[in-house]
Every structure is written in structure tokens, then in C-alpha cells.
């Protein structure tokens, strides 16, 4: 091989490394800057700022509820999409991906149309004393709408990774389809399902666009951060934003631990 022909691949490698490093810097720098300059203040404010504390608690609770509802509803759908061939499967998959593609304020407007007091569903809910818009239920609805597709996608992949022949063997060993699912498929897909639910939770925690339209008050952390920024400026918004960033680190740490465990078992 001539030195010229070696030069091109080397040059390409250097360019690729440079591009990757720049992107990494671009993604990490704002968050590092944010946590570095205001993380300490954010943590200190947790003790003194009741609104921030309540807001973070509300965010975590609503995200957890939305995740639980999503996992319960989306698991059968994900299993169906991973295992069965049926007419309309592609359409169903596309519908489930749709919330990921539309701008989140648009998602908020669509939810408002469906669940607002003027709508049939919102009106019926009000009739039984259940107000959705402007309450934590609205927050949960918005979080569920924007984050459940991520769970479906991850869970579908987790189920697809479990060879159906495991279930087949379980059936020949006396299990009904439900029992084989519960005893074999679910445990084998559990790590993927857990990782998907963590991703869903993290996405729910970080949602702003749909929530701000459906429920401005009570304020979740993202709305509070925006509210402080527009009302009091950057200095007041920074500690809230840093606290939210630190909260987001929690699922990231869990995900890392899950992946490390998965690798060590391979």
C-alpha cells in the first residue's frame, strides 16, 4: 500500500473523530455549564424554596403515574406488534409513533380538544366531578401522550429479542399462552421493559410543550423553570433548571447500571 492510499483513511478517521468530539461537546457543554454554575444553588434551594420542592415532587409523581399507566396499557400492544402478523399492523405501529413526530404544543392542543371542558370526553369527566385540564390529571395525560410511544418502541424490541421458541417449549411443557408469557417471556424481556420504562419516565419528566397548554398550574419543574425565566430572568430560572437536570440524571444512572449488568451477563 502506498503512503498516499494510507493517508486518505487516516484523514477520514481524524475528521470523523473531530466531528464526533464537537457534537459531544455541543451536547454536554450546556448541561455541564448549567449544573456546574447552578447545581449547588439548586440543591440549596430545595431546602428553602417550597414551590421548587413541590414542583419537583409533582413532576416525579405525575411522571411515575404516567409511566405506570403507559406500561400497563402499552405492554400488550408491544407484545402484539413484536409477535403477531395481522392486517393493519403497520398502521397501528405508525399511529403509535405519531406522538413522537408532532411538535409537542400541537400535541397539547390536540389533547385540549379531546379533554377540554367543551369536548364530549372532558364534559363527561366533569359530569362525574373529574376535571382534567388545569389539574395533575392533565399533566399525566400530556406526559403519557408524548412518552408512551418510547415505551412501546423499546418494549416491542425487548419482546422481539426473546426467541418465540422459548414460549413454544414452555407450551409443550404444559403452559397455557398466558402462563408461558408470565413465566418465560416476561422475565426474559424484563430488563428491556425496565429500561424502556425508565426512558419513558425520563421523557415524561422533561416534557414542557404539551403540559404548558393543558395544565399551566400546578406547575411541573419544566413549567416552573420557564415561568421563573419569563417573570424574574435567568438568575431565578437557573437553580430550577439545574435541579431538573439533576433529577434527569437519576434515570440516566439507572439505565447505565442496567446496561452494565446486561453486558456482564452476556
Amino acid at each position: 500500500m502506498t503512503s498516499d492510499s494510507r493517508l486518505v483513511p487516516r484523514l477520514l478517521s481524524v475528521l470523523a473523530a473531530l466531528a464526533g468530539s464537537l457534537l459531544l461537546l455541543f451536547l454536554a457543554a450546556p448541561l455541564v455549564e448549567l449544573v456546574g454554575t447552578s447545581g449547588g444553588e439548586g440543591l440549596r434551594r430545595l431546602g428553602a424554596d417550597a414551590e421548587l420542592r413541590d414542583s419537583l415532587l409533582l413532576t416525579a409523581l405525575c411522571a411515575t403515574t404516567a409511566t405506570l399507566v403507559g406500561v400497563l396499557g402499552a405492554t400488550p400492544l408491544a407484545y402484539l406488534l413484536a409477535r403477531r402478523e395481522f392486517p393493519g399492523r403497520a398502521v397501528l405501529a405508525a399511529i403509535l409513533d405519531l406522538p413522537l413526530l408532532i411538535p409537542h404544543p400541537v400535541a397539547g392542543i390536540a389533547l385540549l380538544l379531546l379533554l377540554g371542558r367543551e369536548s364530549a370526553l372532558g364534559g363527561a369527566a366533569l359530569g362525574v366531578g373529574l376535571r382534567i385540564v388545569g389539574t395533575p390529571i392533565g399533566i399525566i395525560a400530556a406526559m403519557l401522550f408524548v412518552s408512551a410511544p418510547l415505551f412501546v418502541s423499546g418494549a416491542r424490541e425487548a419482546f422481539a429479542k426473546v426467541d418465540p421458541r422459548y414460549e413454544g417449549v414452555a407450551r409443550t411443557l404444559g403452559d397455557t399462552p398466558w402462563r408461558a408469557f408470565y413465566r418465560v417471556t416476561l422475565p426474559l424481556a424484563s430488563r428491556g421493559l425496565l429500561a424502556s420504562s425508565v426512558v419513558m419516565w425520563a421523557r415524561a419528566v422533561s416534557e414542557f410543550g404539551a403540559i404548558v397548554i393543558l395544565t399551566y398550574n400546578p406547575k411541573v419543574a419544566s413549567v416552573l423553570s420557564y415561568d421563573r425565566f419569563t417573570s424574574y430572568g435567568l438568575s431565578e430560572a437557573l437553580p430550577v433548571a439545574a435541579a431538573l437536570a439533576l433529577l434527569a440524571l437519576l434515570p440516566l444512572t439507572i439505565l447505565r447500571a442496567l446496561r452494565a449488568e446486561s453486558r456482564s451477563e452476556r
Binding site: 422459548y166 413454544g168 417449549v169 407450551r171 409443550t172 411443557l173 418465560v184 422475565p187
Partner: protein
């Protein structure tokens, strides 16, 4: 008893088409075929994991349509075992066990009791297959379906486990259907051989019958026949008694004599064939070699020259050029040494008319 009548089934792009055979209760059937011939798909149809799109499947006389896998009394062992990785070896064997005694017996006889406390992830391929066998047997099935279950075992262990499975099959009165691509294994285990290729049954019968009387040149070559020659058969009428020398009824597949013309050679055959274009199959072990014109009763006798000598342990395969047609003979290495067989040597190849199968 397993009875399949014109079964069609589809798995992805692969299809089983018009598959028919029956396996008597308590007998050992062996499905033989190359990779991708549909052997595993066939087992999945019988197990109820893949519904057939047409045809009838009967298990012990009952129509199996609508019968769930868990109600069929089948035990299935895949080649890759598919042990449940989240359970220990003991939990795997106990998964569907009929009772604690059967669990212990199955584990003991497959030699997996010492592995009970081990995690599945740490097992070797052979150990996995043994645990999968024990798991299927612990359920005490009526019907045992085995997909290349010994492929990862070392030769010594394979022989032991093969014997043990055969013994359990007999003692428990199981009906067993095993998939293999190894005809020697089929011959050792099976009461019945079913040859499958491209999703279709090419031939079924006793292993000896399939081995001696392949239905087509493809089957003959698949079963390892080295001499498959194309040509034209001519009916010579009723064969003289000295052409027929097998034990009574052994290969009584007709008593007509045939002359088979192939590339300037004329072979003589006995059987019940149709005249016309076809193939002659002669197994290498049916051909004997001498250095001079010996005087035995063999109807076919050809002078030629040794082209190639391949020694594999106790057996030596000798390729002889007979007027441009290669004939392969198998003899013991000791005989080959005694005869001084080397490439270029002039020899005489002989074989009986009964050894020539026309198809």
C-alpha cells in the same frame, strides 16, 4: 401414533407441502434431510406450535386440529436446547415435570443431576442438550420430538445418551420422532426413516429399505451413494436363479433381469423397475476389487485402473477408472494394503446384479 395426511404449513417464506406419513405408536421415526429441508418445521407442526394450513394431523387416532400444544402430551427438544436462562438447571428440568420421581429419573438417566445447582449460562452446548432432554422427558410425554438432540455431544457421550434415549423410548412406550442429517444415526435409532427435502417427503420406509432402494438419484446421493450413473435400462425377462442370491425376502423387490447401458458400460441388475431412461445406484461397499480376473458369481465385472486412493481410518475408498467412468469401491484398509492398491494399478471391480438398484 402420528399420522400426517397432505399437510401444508408455512413458516415465514418456507413451506411444507403435501407431507404425508404415519408412525406407529411406540415406534422410533427419524426425519432425515439437509439443512433447510423443513425438518424442524415438521416437528413444530406435530407439537402444535405451527398450525397447518391444509391437511390432517392425527395423534393416537385423535384429530389434533384445535388441540393446544400443552394438551398434546408432547416433549420437544430443539437442537439449541432453549433452556430458560432465568432459571437454574434444576428449575428447568422441573419446569413441566409430571412428578418428583419422573424428574429424578429423567435427570439421572440423562446425567444432569450433578448440574442441578448450576446456572444455565455457564453450561456447555452438550450439557444444554442433556438438560433439554431431561426437561422434556421429566414431563413423561407420550410423544417425544427431538431436533438434532445429540449434535453438541462428544462422540462417546453421544453413543451413551443415544442408547439411553432409545432405552427410555422402549421402557416408557414413547412414540419418538427425531430429526437428524446423519443417516448413520437414523440407521442406528430408527424403525422408520422419513426423507425430507424442500418441504416435501421424498421417501419413507425402514432405514434399510431407504438406504438400499432410494427412490431417486437425489435420495441416493443424499444418503451417500458414491456410484450414481445415468443411462437406459432394458428388460431382459425373468432373472435366472443364480442372479438372485440374497436371503429370502430380504430385498425381494422383483426378479426381473435388466441390462443398463451407461457411457459404454453395460451393468446387469435385478429388480422390479420400468425399462427406459433412469439411474443405476451401486453402493461403494458392494464393489469388490481384485488384481486379476477372479472367479466369483458376480454378474458385473469390469477391468480398470486405480485413479485415487483415500484412506479414512479402517476404511479405504478406491476410485477406479473403467473406460472413462469412475467407480468408487470401499474396502477395509487392511485389504487395500494387502492388495497393494496404488494409483495407476490395473484392477478388476466386481459386483452382483442384486447390488445394482435402478431408479
Amino acid at each position: 401414533m402420528i399420522r400426517l395426511e397432505s399437510i401444508d404449513a408455512r413458516k415465514g417464506r418456507f413451506t411444507l407441502a403435501d407431507v404425508s406419513f404415519s408412525l406407529e405408536k411406540g415406534s422410533f421415526g427419524v426425519v432425515i434431510g439437509p439443512a433447510g429441508s423443513g425438518k424442524t418445521t415438521l416437528l413444530e407442526v406435530v407439537a402444535g406450535l405451527l398450525p397447518p394450513s391444509a391437511g390432517t394431523l392425527r395423534l393416537d387416532g385423535t384429530d389434533a386440529r384445535g388441540l393446544a400444544p400443552e394438551s398434546r402430551g408432547v416433549g420437544l427438544v430443539y437442537q439449541h436446547a432453549f433452556l430458560f436462562p432465568h432459571l437454574s438447571v434444576r428449575e428447568n428440568v422441573a419446569y413441566g415435570a409430571a412428578d418428583p420421581e419422573t424428574l429424578e429419573e429423567a435427570a439421572e438417566r440423562m446425567g444432569v443431576t450433578p448440574l442441578f445447582t448450576r446456572e444455565v449460562r455457564g453450561l456447555s452446548g452438550g450439557e444444554r442438550q442433556l438438560v433439554a432432554l431431561a426437561r422434556a422427558l421429566a414431563r413423561r410425554p407420550r410423544l417425544l420430538l427431538l431436533d438434532e438432540p445429540f449434535s453438541a455431544l462428544d462422540p462417546r457421550r453421544r453413543a451413551v445418551i443415544r442408547r439411553e434415549v432409545r432405552a427410555l423410548h422402549r421402557e416408557w412406550g414413547l412414540t419418538t420422532l427425531q430429526v437428524t442429517h446423519d443417516f448413520a444415526e437414523a440407521g442406528m435409532l430408527g424403525d422408520q426413516a422419513i426423507l425430507l427435502d424442500g418441504g416435501r417427503v421424498l421417501q419413507s420406509g425402514t432405514p434399510a429399505e431407504v438406504f438400499r432402494r432410494p427412490a431417486s438419484p437425489y435420495v441416493a446421493e443424499f444418503l451417500g451413494a458414491e456410484n450414481v450413473l445415468g443411462g437406459v435400462a432394458r428388460d431382459l425377462g425373468e432373472a435366472a436363479p443364480d442372479w438372485i442370491d440374497s436371503a429370502p425376502g430380504e430385498f425381494a423387490h422383483g426378479h426381473r433381469a435388466f441390462a443398463f447401458e451407461t457411457d459404454g458400460l453395460t451393468l446387469y441388475a435385478v429388480g422390479d423397475f420400468a425399462s427406459g431412461a433412469g439411474h443405476a445406484v451401486i453402493r461403494a461397499e458392494e464393489i469388490t476389487i481384485a488384481r486379476d480376473q477372479s472367479h466369483d458369481s458376480a454378474r458385473n465385472r469390469f477391468a480398470g485402473r486405480v485413479l485415487e486412493v483415500a484412506t479414512l481410518g479402517a476404511l479405504t475408498r478406491v476410485t477406479i477408472d473403467v473406460r472413462g467412468t469412475p467407480l468408487v469401491a470401499a474396502l477395509t484398509t487392511r485389504s487395500a494394503t494387502e492388495l497393494g492398491i496404488v494409483p495407476g494399478l490395473a484392477v478388476v471391480a466386481t459386483f452382483k446384479a442384486m447390488a445394482v438398484h435402478l431408479c
